[in-house]
C-alpha cells in the first residue's frame, strides 16, 4: 500500500528532473511526462480494486498520526486519481516545440492534484492546494493569448487572497484544537469545534477555497480567465481544477459537520451561483463565455447538493461533479477551432454531422433530458432536495428547476445555430475534426455507455460516497491501534474522550 505515495512522488520527481533530462536527451524528456502519468494511472486503477472494500492509510515516514502526515486511500480518491491522470494525459501539450518548463509545470499540477485527493492532513491539503494554484498560474502565463495579462493578474490576486484566507482558517482551527489531522479533527469536532470561532474559520476556509471552486460571489475570474486560455486548458480547469477545490470543501465539511444554519448559508450561495450563472450565460453571445457561466451554474448545483446533510448530500455532490466533468470538459474540447461567435456555427450539422451529434448529446445531458445520465443525476438531486421537507430546500428546488428552463433557452439557441443551413456568404465553420474534438467524442461515448448501464454506475458511486462520509471507518483506518483497544466502547463521546486523552499523553 505504501507504493501509493508514488502517486505524488513520481510526478513531482519528474517535474523537477525534466529540465535536467532535457539537456541530456530531448527525446526522453518529450515522452517522460506522459509515461509518468500513464504509470500513475495504472497504479491508481489497480489500487481502486484493492481499497474498494476497505480503505487504507499510509503513514508517511512511519510517523503515526497525529504527529505524522497521513495519506488516506479510499475508492473515491483512487477514482479521482484515475480521472486526474487521464485528464492530464488528454490535455498534454504534445507539440514538439513546447518548452520543457511547461511539461514540468503540468507534472507539478498533476502531482499536487494527486496529493490533494489523497491527503489526510489539513495543512498538507493546504500545501498541495497552494502548489496546484501556483503551478496553474505558471501554466496560464505561458499559454495565454496576448490579451490575457489583466485577467490572469486579477485571478492571481484573487486566488492568492483566497489562499491566505484558507491559511488563516487553518491557523484558527489549529489554535482551537492543537491538531491538524483530518480524522482527529472530525473526532474533536463535536466538542471543541462547536463554537463561533470554528465556524468563522470554516467560513474563511470555504470562502478561500471557493475562489477556485467557482463559488458565488468570488467567481468573477472564471469568464475572463477561461476566455484567455486555450480550450484544452480551459477543459482542464473547468473539468478538473474546480472539482478538486470542491473536494477540499467536501473534506472540510465532513470534518466539521456544521449545523443546519451553516448549510443554509452554503445553500444560498449555491442558489445565487446557479441563478447568476444561468442568467448571465443566457445573455452571453460568446461560446467560451456561455460555457464558463454554465460551469459556474453547475458548480452552484454541487454546492446545493453539498448543503444536504448526511451522506446523501455527498453522494449527490460526487455524482454531479462526475457528470459535469464529462460534459464540460467534452464541450470545451469540442469548441476548439470553432469560432467564438455562435452565429458562425451555422452549417455545422451539414459539414460534420457527428460533431453536431456530439454537441447535441452533451447539451441534452447537461439539460437533464431523459434517457441521458444528466436526467438521472438531476432527478436524484430533486428527490434529495424534496426529502429535506424544509422551505429553504423547496426554494432551492424551485431555483434549480427555473434555472433548467433558462438553460434550455440558451443551449437550444446553440443547437438551432448548428442545425441551420449555412448561408452562402459565411465560411465553413469547420474544416476537419482535430484530435481534441475526437477526445470530446470519446467523452460523449462514455456518457452514452454510462446511460445504458446507469443503475450499476449509480450503485457504485453511492457506495463510494458512503465510504467518504463514514466517520467511523475513517477513524478506524487512520488509528487502527487505538480504535482496536477501545472497540468495545459503545458511545462515541467516551471514545472521543479516551482518544483525546491518549493524544494528550502523546503530545506531552
Amino acid at each position: 500500500m505504501n507504493e501509493l505515495a508514488l502517486l505524488v512522488v513520481f510526478p513531482l520527481l519528474g517535474a523537477f528532473l525534466l529540465p535536467a533530462i532535457a539537456t541530456i536527451s530531448p527525446f526522453i524528456s518529450r515522452y517522460a511526462g506522459p509515461f509518468i502519468l500513464f504509470t500513475v494511472l495504472i497504479l491508481a486503477a489497480s489500487a481502486y480494486n484493492t481499497v474498494a472494500l476497505s480503505p487504507a492509510a499510509i503513514h508517511l515516514g512511519g510517523f503515526m498520526a497525529p504527529l505524522g502526515i497521513v495519506f488516506y486511500i479510499d475508492p473515491f480518491s483512487m477514482m479521482m486519481a484515475v480521472i486526474i491522470a487521464l485528464m492530464f494525459l488528454l490535455v498534454w501539450p504534445w507539440k514538439a516545440d513546447t518548452p520543457v518548463r511547461l511539461h514540468s509545470l503540468y507534472l507539478l499540477m498533476a502531482a499536487s492534484s494527486m496529493g490533494l485527493v489523497i491527503s489526510g492532513d489539513l495543512f498538507n491539503l493546504y500545501v498541495f492546494y497552494e502548489l496546484l494554484a501556483v503551478s496553474s498560474y505558471g501554466v496560464i502565463a505561458i499559454q495565454s493569448s496576448r490579451s490575457a495579462p489583466a485577467a490572469s493578474l486579477r485571478f492571481v490576486f484573487l486566488s492568492a487572497a483566497g489562499s491566505v484566507l484558507f491559511l488563516t482558517g487553518i491557523a484558527i482551527i489549529y489554535t482551537l484544537t492543537g491538531t491538524l489531522n483530518l480524522a482527529h479533527l472530525s473526532m474533536l469536532a463535536q466538542g471543541q469545534l462547536n463554537n463561533f470561532a470554528a465556524y468563522a474559520a470554516l467560513l474563511l476556509m470555504i470562502a478561500g477555497v471557493g475562489v477556485k471552486a467557482e463559488l458565488y460571489p468570488v467567481n468573477s475570474w472564471v469568464a475572463e480567465v477561461y476566455a484567455s486560455i486555450s480550450k484544452p486548458l480551459a477543459a482542464l480547469f473547468a473539468g478538473l481544477m474546480s472539482k478538486l477545490a470542491v473536494i477540499v470543501i467536501l473534506r472540510l465539511i465532513w470534518m466539521m459537520q456544521p449545523d443546519a444554519q451553516f448549510l443554509h448559508l452554503l445553500l444560498i450561495l449555491g442558489m445565487l451561483g446557479v441563478l447568476s450563472g444561468e442568467l448571465v450565460a443566457w445573455k452571453a453571445n460568446d461560446m467560451t463565455r456561455i460555457l464558463s457561466f454554465s460551469s459556474i451554474a453547475q458548480l452552484g448545483l454541487v454546492f446545493i447538493a453539498l448543503s444536504i446533510p448526511s451522506e446523501n448530500g455527498v453522494f449527490l455532490a460526487v455524482l454531479l461533479m462526475l457528470h459535469h466533468w464529462l460534459v464540460k470538459s467534452g464541450l470545451f474540447l469540442l469548441i476548439t477551432q470553432l469560432h467564438a461567435d455562435p452565429t458562425r456555427l451555422k452549417g455545422l450539422a451539414q459539414a460534420s454531422p457527428y460533431m453536431a451529434l456530439t454537441f447535441l448529446i452533451f447539451i441534452l445531458s447537461l439539460l437533464g433530458v431523459p434517457p441521458f445520465p444528466g436526467f438521472w443525476v438531476k432527478l436524484q438531486l430533486v428527490m434529495g432536495l424534496s426529502e429535506m421537507q424544509q422551505s429553504i430546500y423547496y426554494l432551492a428546488l424551485g431555483v434549480v428547476l427555473t434555472a433548467t428552463v433558462i438553460e434550455a433557452a440558451y443551449l437550444m439557441r446553440l443547437i438551432k445555430q448548428m442545425y441551420s443551413p449555412q448561408p452562402a456568404a459565411m465560411p465553413l465553420p469547420l474544416q476537419t475534426v482535430n484530435s481534441q474534438q475526437r477526445i470530446a467524442q470519446f467523452f460523449a461515448l462514455i456518457l452514452v455507455v454510462s446511460m445504458l448501464f446507469f443503475n450499476p454506475v449509480n450503485q457504485q458511486i453511492k457506495q463510494v460516497a458512503a465510504m467518504i462520509s463514514d466517520k467511523v471507518l475513517v477513524i478506524k483506518t487512520v488509528y487502527p491501534r487505538y480504535y482496536d483497544s477501545h472497540h468495545h466502547l459503545q458511545q462515541q463521546a467516551s471514545l472521543d474522550k479516551q482518544l483525546s486523552s491518549v493524544f494528550e499523553e502523546q503530545r506531552l
Binding site: R154, F157, L158, A160, A161, G162, L165, T168, I172, T175, L176, G178, N195, F196, A197, A200, L203, A207, G208, V211, P217, V218, S220, W221, A223, L275, S276, L279, V280, W282, K283, L367, V369, P370, P371, F375, W376, K378, L379, Q380, V382, M383, S386, E387, M388, L397, G398, L401, T402, T404, V405, I406, A408, A409, M412, K416, Y419, S420, F454, N455
Partner: protein
C-alpha cells in the same frame, strides 16, 4: 412477449430500421405498412374496450432503475388514444408517401425524413400511453416533447425554428413543474408509483394535494396550450411541414389531455378537485372549467382574424382543447363522455382539414387566404373534405362534432353552469364564423386567373382525406360506435359511465338519437333538392367567369372577391379587447429575466474582486476578535 410488447417493439424497431434504410425508394410504403400492422395489433387488443373484465394489459418488461420499478401497461384510455394516434399517423403517412414525396415545398426536408420523424413520434407516444408509474410517464413525456420539437424543427426556415425553440422552452417549463410535483410526491411517499399519489391524496392534508394538482395542471396544460400557456402552439404547428402538422395538431397536444385524465381525474379525483382553495368556496374544478371556457373563446376569435389558413386551423386547435378540458373536468357521465369523444372527433376532422389545406398549398403554392378563392370547381373533392371538416369543427349535425359538443352543453346545463354554457356557445359562434371564412376564402368566391389550370390532388393524397371525412360522418351518424369505447374508458378511469346506444345517449332528462336527427336532416335536404331540381324552372350550366354586376360584365381581371377583413362589424365590437394581454405577459417575463441577467452580470464586473474577499475576511475576523476571544493553548 405480450401484445403490448409487440406494439411497442414494432414502433421502436420500425424507427431504427427506417433511420438506416429510409431513403431508398423501396421503403416508400414502409411506414404506412407499419401503421397498418399497429392497427391490427390494436384490434387484437380491443378486448380492453369490449370486455369489461379486462382492465389492463401488462408488458413483460420489468425494469428497475434507482430502486424504482418501471411499469408498462395499457388500459382502455391508452387504447383509445393509441387508436387515434396510429390512425392519424396512417393518414399522414399515406399522404406523404404518394405524389407529395416527389414535389418539394419550400423549406421542407425530403419526405422520407418527415416519415422517419413521424415514426419516432408515434413510437414515443405509444410508449407514453403505456406508462404505469410516474417515472416512466415523465421519461416518455419528455421523449414525446422532444420528438414533437424535432418534427417542428424539420422546417428549415428560421421563423419555423424560432417557433420550435419557443415551444421547447415552454415544454421545458412544463416538464420542470412536473418534476417539482414528482419531488413533492417522493418526499412524502418515498416512491413514485401511481398508487403513491392515491395514498398521498388520502393521507396528506388536502391543501398539499391542491398544490400538486395545480403543478400537474400547469405541466400538462402547457403541452395542451391551455390559456395562459397557449402562445407557442399556433405558430409552431403552422410552420411544421405539412402532413406532420396534421399529425401534431390531431393528437400531440392531446397528450396533455391524456395525462390530465390519468392524473387529475383517475388518480386524484373529485376529492381534490372539489376542495375549496384555502377555505374559500372556489375549488379547482371551477378554476379549471373557467380556464377551459376562456380557452374556448379567446383563441377562437384570434383564429377569426388570421389570414393564413394553417394558422387559422392551429388557433382553432387551441380553442377545441378547451372544450375537451371543460367536458372532462365536469366529472359527470355526459360531460366527460363529450370531452373524451371530442378528442376523437377533433383528431379526425383536424387531420382532414389540415390535409385539405396542405393539398391546396401543394397545388397553388400558398396558404394565404387573401391569395386564394373559387377553387371549388378545380378541386371539388378537396372542397368536399373541407366542407365536411368544417361542419364537424363547427359542431353542426349530422357530423360527429355535434355529438360531442351537444354532450358538453347538456352537461353544463345539467350541472347548473349557465355562465359556462354561454361562454362555450360564444366559442362555437366564433368557430362557425371563422371556419366559414376559411372555406369561403379558399374554395368559394372568385377564381384567380393563375389558378385556372389547377387540377385535383392525386389519389394518394385524396384517399386519406376521404377516409377521414367518412369517419367523421359515420361516427356522427352512429356515435354509439365510439361511445361504446368511451363508456369503457369512463369505467376504467373512475368516472360515471354514460348510458349509450347506437344513435347516441339515453338520459332521463333528454335523449340524443343521431340516427333520427341525421335522417330528418337528409329528409329535409331531399325535399329541398326535389323542389329545386325537379319543380323549379329550367337551369343552365355557365362558366365560372361568366359574371355580371349591375348588368355590367365583370372581366376575370376585375377583383370582386371578398376576403380581407372578413368580419368588420364583429371586429369593430371586439377588436379593442384584443390588446395582446398574454403577449404582454410573455414580454414581462422576458424583461424580468433580462433585467436580472444584467444585474448579475454587473455583479461580475468587479475591477478588483480580491477586495470583496478581504472584506468578507475582515468582517469574520472582527467577529472573532471582539465576540469570541480566541484562547491560545489548550
Amino acid at each position: 412477449m405480450t401484445i403490448l410488447d409487440e406494439l411497442l417493439v414494432l414502433g421502436i424497431a420500425a424507427s431504427v430500421l427506417f433511420m438506416f434504410a429510409g431513403r431508398f425508394k423501396l421503403m416508400r410504403f414502409f411506414a404506412p405498412v407499419v401503421y397498418v400492422g399497429m392497427l391490427l395489433i390494436l384490434i387484437k387488443m380491443s378486448v380492453l374496450v369490449s370486455d369489461p373484465s379486462v382492465i389492463q394489459i401488462h408488458s413483460s418488461l420489468q425494469l428497475t432503475i434507482l430502486s424504482m420499478n418501471l411499469e408498462l401497461r395499457y388500459d382502455a384510455l391508452s387504447w383509445l388514444f393509441a387508436l387515434i394516434t396510429v390512425f392519424a399517423a396512417l393518414a399522414s403517412s399515406i399522404y406523404l408517401s404518394g405524389a407529395y414525396a416527389k414535389g418539394h415545398v419550400d423549406g421542407d426536408p425530403p419526405a422520407h425524413v418527415i416519415q422517419w420523424v413521424l415514426l419516432i413520434n408515434v413510437a414515443t407516444m405509444l410508449l407514453m400511453l403505456a406508462s404505469g408509474d410516474f417515472i416512466s410517464l415523465f421519461i416518455s413525456w419528455e421523449l414525446v416533447s422532444w420528438a414533437s420539437f424535432w418534427m417542428m424543427a424539420l422546417n428549415h426556415k428560421s421563423a419555423a425554428r424560432k417557433a420550435a425553440v419557443k415551444y421547447l422552452i415552454y415544454a421545458m417549463a412544463g416538464a420542470m413543474m412536473f418534476l417539482a410535483a414528482l419531488g413533492l410526491i417522493y418526499a412524502a411517499m418515498g416512491s413514485l408509483a401511481y398508487v403513491d399519489l392515491i395514498t398521498f391524496v388520502m393521507q396528506q392534508p388536502l391543501q398539499q394535494s391542491v398544490l400538486l394538482a395545480i403543478l400537474f395542471f400547469g405541466a400538462f396544460g402547457i403541452k395542451m396550450a391551455i390559456l395562459p400557456f397557449h402562445l407557442w402552439q399556433a405558430k409552431a404547428y403552422a410552420e411544421t411541414p405539412g402532413p406532420g402538422a396534421a399529425f401534431l395538431g390531431a393528437i400531440s397536444s392531446r397528450m396533455g389531455m391524456y395525462a390530465i385524465i390519468v392524473v387529475l381525474v383517475q388518480l386524484m379525483g373529485s376529492r381534490v378537485l372539489n376542495t375549496g382553495l384555502a377555505d374559500t368556496p372556489v375549488d379547482l374544478q371551477m378554476i379549471f372549467a373557467w380556464i377551459a371556457a376562456l380557452t374556448t373563446i379567446i383563441p377562437t376569435f384570434i383564429a377569426l382574424q388570421q389570414h393564413d389558413a394553417k394558422k387559422l386551423l392551429t388557433w382553432h386547435g387551441i380553442g377545441q382543447g378547451g372544450y375537451m378540458l371543460l367536458g372532462v373536468i365536469m366529472l359527470d357521465s355526459i360531460g366527460s363522455a363529450g370531452g373524451i369523444m371530442h378528442i376523437f372527433n377533433y383528431a379526425s376532422y383536424q387531420a382532414a382539414l389540415f390535409l385539405s389545406v396542405v393539398a391546396v398549398v401543394y397545388r397553388t403554392g400558398t396558404s394565404d387566404l387573401n391569395q386564394l378563392g373559387g377553387l371549388v370547381t378545380r378541386m371539388p373533392l378537396s372542397f368536399l373534405v373541407m366542407l365536411i371538416g368544417i361542419i364537424g369543427l363547427a359542431g353542426l349535425p349530422p357530423m360527429s362534432g355535434f355529438v360531442s359538443k351537444w354532450l358538453i352543453y347538456r352537461s353544463l346545463i345539467l350541472n347548473g353552469e349557465p355562465l359556462l354554457f354561454v361562454a362555450v356557445v360564444i366559442g362555437t359562434l366564433g368557430t362557425i364564423l371563422s371556419v366559414y371564412k376559411l372555406i369561403h376564402n379558399t374554395f368559394l368566391g372568385q377564381l384567380r386567373m393563375e389558378h385556372q389550370e389547377i387540377r385535383e390532388v392525386p389519389w394518394s393524397m385524396l384517399l386519406p382525406m376521404l377516409v377521414l371525412v367518412s369517419i367523421v360522418f359515420i361516427t356522427g351518424f352512429m356515435p354509439g360506435l365510439v361511445l361504446q369505447w368511451i363508456a369503457q374508458v369512463q369505467a376504467v378511469v373512475g368516472l360515471p359511465v354514460v348510458d349509450y346506444h347506437l344513435g347516441g345517449i339515453s338520459d332521463a332528462k333528454g335523449d340524443l338519437d343521431m340516427i333520427w336527427v341525421s335522417l330528418i336532416l337528409f329528409y329535409g335536404f331531399g325535399v329541398g333538392a326535389l323542389i329545386f331540381y325537379f319543380l323549379g324552372g329550367p337551369s343552365r350550366r355557365i362558366h365560372q367567369y361568366d359574371n355580371y354586376a349591375g348588368g355590367h360584365f365583370l372581366t376575370s381581371g376585375v377583383r370582386y372577391h371578398y376576403s380581407n377583413n372578413f368580419y368588420p362589424g364583429l371586429m369593430h365590437l371586439i377588436g379593442n379587447w384584443y390588446q395582446g394581454f398574454f403577449v404582454w405577459c410573455e414580454k414581462v417575463i422576458y424583461s424580468v429575466i433580462s433585467f436580472s441577467a444584467q444585474l448579475f452580470e454587473n455583479s461580475y464586473r468587479q475591477r478588483q474582486p480580491a477586495f470583496l474577499l478581504i472584506l468578507i475576511a475582515l468582517v469574520c475576523l472582527f467577529y472573532l476578535i471582539f465576540e469570541h476571544p480566541v484562547r491560545v493553548g489548550n
